[in-house]
Point group: C2
Chain length 244, copies 2
């Protein structure tokens, strides 16, 4: 896996890596244009000008192609969200921006997303958002909400503040789940849902920040911790997994 210094002879980034990138780009393009089911491995390979087996040499399964797509989608979202967030100062506004740009970004892939989350719900799938394979994307997503909170003026107790990025990420996954099922024009239902839930969340966060609510808040946060712990130990199962 050592890279051959700086490949001087040509602009290649390693022969294999080039093929890998070719296949990936071809696949992503095909997903966008034809959707998931139509983008068969054979079709992708053919369009990329490689053999079927070769595609499998670089991507263990079709799901790993989706995983790459997932990452790409997230990167695009970050690029859209960060600049937009600079204008917003209140927690509510910042949350709204983060969520709206998220849906904006995903919009072109609505039909494809259905498949994405179908497989994502499978505990054994590499796309499972709580699983190991999704760790990079998940971490980055949570970091985005970290930033959403950091730039906001709201005063939030430490205990809640610590868990909030994670909680907001889970919330965002719920919104995406709704969006997948949303067949209304321009997904207006999802945008409306975002408006309403963000407003409610804003109120809830302030309510939960009230000293009066401390005991209930503590209990709820303990629960969240437990959930998170559990979500993180999905590995040691009896199943054969995907280690071919």
């Amino acid at each position: 896996m050592r890279k051959t210094h700086t490949s001087q002879k040509s602009n290649k980034t390693g022969k294999g890596e080039q093929t890998r990138a070719l296949i990936l780009e071809t696949a992503l393009e095909m997903f966008r244009e034809r959707g998931y089911d139509e983008s068969t491995m054979r079709a992708i390979a053919q369009k990329a000008g490689v053999s079927l087996g070769n595609a499998y040499y670089y991507f263990r399964s079709k799901e790993f192609l989706i995983q790459a797509f997932y990452q790409r989608l997230h990167d695009t979202h970050i690029e859209a969200a960060l600049p937009a967030l600079e204008h917003d100062k209140t927690l509510k506004a910042r949350l709204l921006t983060a969520m709206r740009t998220k849906i904006d970004t995903m919009k072109p892939y609505h039909q494809f997303a259905g498949v994405l989350f179908k497989t994502a719900a499978n505990p054994k799938s590499p796309l499972n958002p709580f699983g190991d394979e999704s760790d990079p994307v998940r971490t980055q997503s949570i970091q985005l909400f970290e930033k959403v909170l950091d730039g906001a003026t709201a005063r939030i107790p430490k205990d809640l503040r610590a868990e909030l990025p994670y909680l907001l990420w889970v919330y965002s996954m719920g919104i995406v789940l709704f969006w997948i099922h949303d067949s209304s024009r321009s997904h207006r239902r999802t945008y409306r849902l975002i408006d309403h839930t963000v407003e409610l969340l804003d109120k809830l966060i302030h309510l939960a920040s009230n000293p009066f609510m401390r005991p209930l808040r503590k209990q709820a946060l303990r629960l969240v911790d437990e959930l998170r712990d559990a979500a993180e130990s999905l590995d040691d199962d009896d199943g054969p997994g995907d280690a071919a």
Copy 2:
């Protein structure tokens, strides 16, 4: 689809219905013993002593077999929950019983359930719990929580009370989702989660019932209504669906 009156000549419930039942029972048994992936349509057909095509004559796809399994599971849960509920009077105790018996019932099918909810998360799947095909099971499930609430002594405002059965059903789906991912011994993590969430829910319900909370509660309930509306109109899509 008209039923041929009362079939007088024999104890058959229609020739076809017999074959259908045979295939279904064989499939359910195989699911239990071998899990989902191992129970291929070919294997099911062979074990049932019919041809492969014949299985497809009665079940449009493999997923429709799971749908039947789903219904069966629910029936078993009802049978276990109703008697047990007679001993419990408080809301907390009744909720606990309902949820614990739910997991008890599903326990033998843990590995299988993973697949079940993988496909259930697909909007196009007949197993989608919000979709039309799941209507009977969903309605019955909500009715169970209706009964859970009816037998409880807690005083709950009308608006909340009206939505609560649905909300508790959604909650129960969340628990099941957790359970699917839970690989701890005897699923103790899930049981612990139930204990904690039920206690929290109990407190939340009482908190939300406080006149003080009326405005926030109203807003939240409006949101729930909207969510429910949206969830119920998933049909008119552009996709080809499964009408083949």
